[in-house]
């Protein structure tokens, strides 16, 4: 049995009140911890580039030339910048699916599934109302995509909250279920008989697609992504609801003791998290593929997990990190063409970066130089 509740929680409550009270030396600029927050990520990038350089050199390619062409292919020309931004859009939306629940202390990795379901729902709804005006079609598609993705991840939250099912494993399994549902749908109920090589749904009419801006390739997806990231950041950091989320994430027992509605907050947060990749799925269909098929399952979701951890769960940082990783994805092709390296080279680089970042988490607070109290 639990020991006396008041006794158990006393130190935790004390810790929370202390954290809430203003720090004693508020006016002094805490440059040491700021410097730490810059030096360690920069170190991560340098170390992972060195490791990757060694790996590439072992494969007989010139690391400097590889980095140069990666830079050129991702940010070198206006065309490649467009290509990068087009890939960054679904990435930032997918990243939110992991980043937002991480604030609750939940590791949700159902990004890929929520994207697929969102794209599928959006396509189904868009096909139903394809005779309406283009903007109506877009609004209906976006709403159903978000609803589909949101409910999909909310189910993960429900299972966690009311049945104690581990959210990481259930969301992982649901990715496979989502892909199976997609395959089933495009091979039977929604199948366009003309799509022989790659079973697909009927297409959204061309004039009802999300149009790119001017003569660029960039489309509304990027705008949606940036707006969603800003809203998520505002919600988590500037609202009462966000405070509840962060309290639950910091210490669920204190949150319960303080009378927070842990269940509803968890479910709403999961819904908002899942709606983001759902929207990404809608954008992928409405702006790029034009129909639902297995191209939806393009690993944006799994890369999004990496973005969320790289951004240290900060929704605004997700925008920045997505652009960098979007560039990395965009440079996959040139490594194959110019350096005869397989396209999986980029995946190896992602893996190295991810491992280095995780290791760097353990470095915070380990160096005496960065401690404020040494001053």
């Amino acid at each position: 049995m639990e020991p006396d509740a008041a006794e158990t929680f006393a130190p935790e409550i004390a810790a929370v009140t202390m954290a809430a009270s203003p720090p004693s030396r508020r006016r002094t600029f805490r440059w040491r911890s700021k410097l730490e927050a810059v030096v360690i990520p920069v170190g991560v990038i340098l170390v992972s580039m060195i490791l990757f350089g060694v790996f590439v050199a072992l494969q007989g390619a010139d690391p400097i030339a590889v980095f140069a062409s990666m830079k050129k292919a991702s940010f070198g020309t206006w065309f490649s910048i467009q290509n990068t931004l087009v890939r960054a859009a679904p990435l930032m939306l997918c990243a939110l699916c992991t980043a937002i629940p991480l604030r609750l202390g939940l590791v949700v990795i159902g990004n890929e599934g929520a994207l697929v379901i969102g794209g599928l729902c959006a396509t189904a709804a868009g096909l139903q109302c394809q005779n309406a005006s283009a903007s109506t079609v877009h609004i209906v598609m976006a709403a159903t995509g978000m609803l589909g993705g949101g409910l999909w991840i909310m189910l993960v939250g429900i299972l966690k909250q009311y049945r104690g099912v581990n959210e990481t494993i259930s969301s992982l399994l649901m990715n496979y279920v989502a892909i199976a549902v997609l395959n089933q749908a495009v091979n039977t109920w929604m199948k366009d008989p003309d799509s022989l090589n790659k079973p697909s749904s009927y297409p959204i009419p061309d004039e009802k697609m999300l149009q790119p801006f001017g003569d660029t390739q960039i489309h509304w997806g990027l705008v949606f992504g940036i707006i969603y990231c800003f809203c998520a950041w505002f919600l988590i950091h500037k609202t009462t609801f966000g405070f509840q989320v962060r309290t639950i994430g910091a210490n669920i027992r204190v949150a319960r003791l303080a009378g927070l509605a842990v269940g509803p907050v968890t479910l709403i947060t999961c819904f908002l998290a899942g709606a983001a990749p759902g929207l990404a799925g809608m954008v992928e269909v409405a702006a790029i593929h034009g129909r639902a098929n297995e191209s939806l399952n393009a690993w944006y979701g799994y890369t999004g997990i990496l973005v969320a951890f790289l951004a240290r769960q900060n929704a605004l940082a997700c925008i920045f990190v997505s652009v960098i990783l979007g560039g990395l994805l965009a440079s996959g092709g040139i490594l194959q063409r110019a350096h005869h390296l397989p396209d999986a080279t980029i995946v190896v680089f992602q893996g190295i970066v991810f491992l280095t970042i995780l290791f760097s988490e353990s470095l915070y607070g380990r160096f005496k130089f960065f401690r404020e109290d040494t001053a």
Binding site: L172, A180, V181, P342, V347, V348, F354, L358
Partner: protein
């Protein structure tokens, strides 16, 4: 001949699938079971499975001996296991995040290094023909069993005995349940966990070798199909007991064969959803058995926590 079997094709196909398709599940789930008994989660077995499949195929092709390939797969598992063990035991590093990173790293490495081996044919592991008594080809092919299956079954029972009746098994369980108490007894928590993760990962490497060298018997980037990720769910399904992991693996192998079997007799309307039946089955079992009130029976007390 096979046409006359009619409905009986389904149970035979499911039985064959249970043995044939269940073997990789058996290796990854017993490996994950050992890892989790020591209190750590290794979600990265998917990466290990792919690396194992790739290195087994490549070495078998280079040396002409599938057994050398098997050893190489085990070695790849040990190395990746060590990286995971070292990383996941750093302070503030989450097991799950480390596992996802290992999936990306391991699969990237396997795709990268395995690119030249997609085309050539490598020597395969031999199968034991236990169906010679029957004249029906379906039964004969169902009972063509890889020796690794029996090794896996033996490992499952041996591991059960190891946990129950040996001094080292007690160490592993102690470290997984109460690391502080184990440390007070003078056991090296770091050492036991590292060895458990490496051994578990080595088993997953053998599972990968089975994929590329026996069934389906070729190296492609889709050869594992997420089987490494299900390992974690299988262990929960099997209640952290290696023998129950064996039954769970057979069940999953059979469930995997259900979709194609139904299609072969003409029931194909829900083919793609049937392919997802192992995942749906796991979810349903977890929903039915988990509880938000208490830990599951058999779950190591310190599972997923740091040092």
């Amino acid at each position: 001949m096979s046409a006359s079997l009619g409905f009986w094709e389904i149970p035979i196909a499911v039985l064959a699938g249970a043995i044939r398709g269940g073997t990789p599940f058996l290796f990854v789930s017993t490996g994950e079971c050992l890892t989790e008994k020591s209190g750590k989660i290794n979600l990265g077995l998917e990466g290990v499975l792919l690396m194992g499949a790739m290195s087994a195929y490549a070495i078998s092709y280079k040396t002409g001996s599938p057994w050398c390939g098997l050893l190489a797969a085990g070695g790849a598992g040990l190395i990746l296991g060590f990286i995971h063990a070292w990383l996941s035991q750093q302070p503030k590093v989450n097991d799950i995040a480390a596992g996802i990173a290992m999936i990306i790293f391991g699969s990237g490495l396997a795709f990268f290094l395995g690119k030249p081996y997609i085309q050539p044919l490598a020597p395969q592991l031999p199968g034991l023909n236990l169906g010679g008594w029957s004249s029906i080809p379906a039964i004969q092919s169902a009972l063509k069993i890889c020796p690794l299956f029996f090794v896996g079954v033996a490992i499952a029972f041996a591991m059960n005995w190891f946990f129950r009746s040996t001094r080292w098994g007690l160490f592993v369980r102690a470290v997984g349940d109460k690391p502080d108490a184990a440390r007070a007894m003078g056991i090296s928590v770091w050492g036991v966990r590292t060895l458990s993760i490496m051994a578990g990962s080595c088993l997953a490497g053998f599972g990968g070798a089975y994929l590329s060298l026996f069934y389906p018997g070729s190296w492609t980037e889709r050869v594992s199909g997420g089987q490494g990720m299900i390992a974690v769910a299988l262990v929960i399904f099997g209640r952290w007991n290696p023998v129950q992991c064996l039954w769970a693996s057979l069940l999953f192998g059979g469930a995997q064969a259900l979709g194609p079997a139904l299609q072969s007799i003409g029931v194909s309307s829900y083919y793609y959803l049937f392919n997802a039946s192992p995942y749906i089955l796991t979810l349903l079992v977890m929903i039915a058995t988990c509880s938000d009130k208490k830990q599951l029976a058999g779950q190591p007390g310190a599972l997923g926590t740091g040092l």
